[in-house]
């Protein structure tokens, strides 16, 4: 028994070290963001606990940067992306799971092929097409949002996830509904969709996280500061405050609060396992 306890002690020591390494960059950022002007942030040895404690960097960066605007833009883009992904994936997954039709095999492999096409390799034509469709913020804000959302409105991952979910429903459910006089849309909407809610929830959460953190695409298409999403806005802090690390740190931490709250509420979806492969790497 004693050997077991010592072994566990080592395990705890290692895990505590790894946990600390995981969060230390944030702790150091928080520490910097709370240091006042009279404290040297480059002091050796570095001080984790601020000696000149202040919230001034937070209020300062809050006044100069439109965080509410960035937050709302991110919400609109992530929200729109989630809604479209749920609708399009469920609709496409249903016939792939439950219907026989000509070209099913072809459709299946075409969708599978999109998994192999990285967005980064085709982003240039995607941008040219988005321009051609006038889905950019220089036309108007609404078009700008549509342009941010559409390239990620559906994914092969979502379609296959929903197809798998529909495959797991007993066929008797549909048969009973049809005997009761439902048409195909009613079978889909009233019978099947309520039964795949857990999969829809998984898809919604992971699509939301992916869209919330997306940086490459918005930094390509956005031209107006008022349209910035949080990642683009946070990156812009570096240019705005050049070497004022107190403000950059405070702004970065502020921008992280919403997703942190989201994570803590939804943590069981992320760390319980079984949803592996869901976040894009």
């Amino acid at each position: 028994m004693k050997g077991l306890k010592i072994k566990n002690l080592y395990i705890h020591l290692i895990l505590i070290t790894v946990s600390l390494l995981s969060i230390f960059p944030f702790i150091w950022l928080i520490s910097t963001s709370l240091k006042g002007n009279s404290e040297n942030i480059f002091a050796y040895p570095p001080q984790i606990i601020p000696s000149d404690f202040t919230w001034a960097n937070y209020s300062g960066v809050w006044q100069r940067v439109n965080f509410i605007g960035y937050f709302l833009n991110s919400m609109i883009v992530a929200g729109g992306t989630v809604v479209l992904n749920l609708m399009l994936s469920a609709m496409a997954g249903y016939p792939l799971a439950r219907m026989e039709f000509k070209g099913k095999k072809f459709t299946f492999f075409a969708i599978l092929a999109t998994i192999m096409i990285p967005f980064q390799a085709i982003m240039l034509p995607v941008y040219l097409i988005t321009l051609k469709l006038h889905l950019v913020d220089s036309v108007n804000n609404f078009a700008g949002f549509i342009g941010l959302i559409m390239p990620f409105a559906v994914s092969a991952f979502g379609i296959f996830l929903m197809r798998q979910a529909f495959l797991g429903i007993p066929k008797e459910m549909e048969e009973a509904a049809i005997v009761d006089g439902c048409n195909v849309w009613q079978v889909f909407w009233k019978v099947l969709i309520p039964m795949v809610k857990p999969s829809l929830a998984v898809l919604a959460i992971f699509t939301f996280i992916g869209s919330w953190g997306e940086f490459l695409w918005p930094s390509i298409v956005l031209t107006k500061e008022s349209m910035y999403t949080l990642p683009v806005g946070v990156n812009n802090l570096q240019g705005m405050f050049s070497s004022n690390w107190r403000f950059i740190a405070a702004g970065s931490i502020l921008s992280t609060i919403p997703i942190l709250i989201f994570f803590l509420f939804m943590q069981r979806y992320f760390i319980s396992g079984g949803n592996e492969g869901a976040v894009k790497g």
Binding site: T114, M150, F160, E175
Partner: protein, 290 residues
Amino acid sequence: MFKYYAKYSPYLFLLPAAIVLLIFFFIPFFQTVGLSFFDYSENIYRPQFIGIENYITLLHNPIFYKVLWNTFIYLFVAVPVLALFPLCIAILINQKIRGVTLYKILIYLPVIVSIVVAAIAFKWLYADQGILNYLMTKIGLEPAGWLTDPDFALYSVIIVTIWKGIGYYMIIYLAALMSVPKELYEACDIDGADFLTKHLTVTVPHIMPTIALVTTISAISAMKVFAEIYVMTKGGPLNSSKTIVYYIYERAFENLDLGFASAAAVVLLIIVMIFSLINILCFEKNKYQI
């Protein structure tokens, strides 16, 4: 089961997704290949068809070789670490100990946080008079130019990618560890095998498919890194931290050399497609069975 739907209904259900995939995946895919045969550098409004000349220029471009080499260093360093280190953590977390959920949350936290914030946090750690250089002097080493020294910059960026990926792959491994039969561990205990032998002889062989899966998906995502580089180094100094996606971005959106950028994008496409094919054919076959 009887056919309760009209002949056209499957197509109607598929239509919205098909339109999006067509416009934002398939057309751009073929257009990438198409653009790579044109020259935009003379006049962006009057591209000239030049056949495979962009590819020839690419093959004679020392920066492209530098970029490819950097990308492969990224793979060689990040992939083995991301395939093995999270496995070790997962095995430790899988022991019957207290506080497992807290450990999981803390180690997963970097996955959730925006890559831009993560890159800024590390930029601050890497600052010339930053905390990392303090530790260097403390242990008697010279302070390093983590992001300003061409010998270090690429590795400093790789560390961020690794740090942000550990939690993600740890969760994948934890799910896989659940499938290892407990009797095998009990048998090991009876034989008096120590901790290391037990996991090398039971755990590792059992979850080999997952290790292979993590290897390919971390390789694919290492091929696609962009934000870390954009936020921290912009590919510098002297192209030392430039990888292929950043190079494509730079040539396409900063130099407006659309044809050349597309040729480089085709190279990226081919590499990622090979990795993805391995992945789908070997490890995720049952997920995609008709």
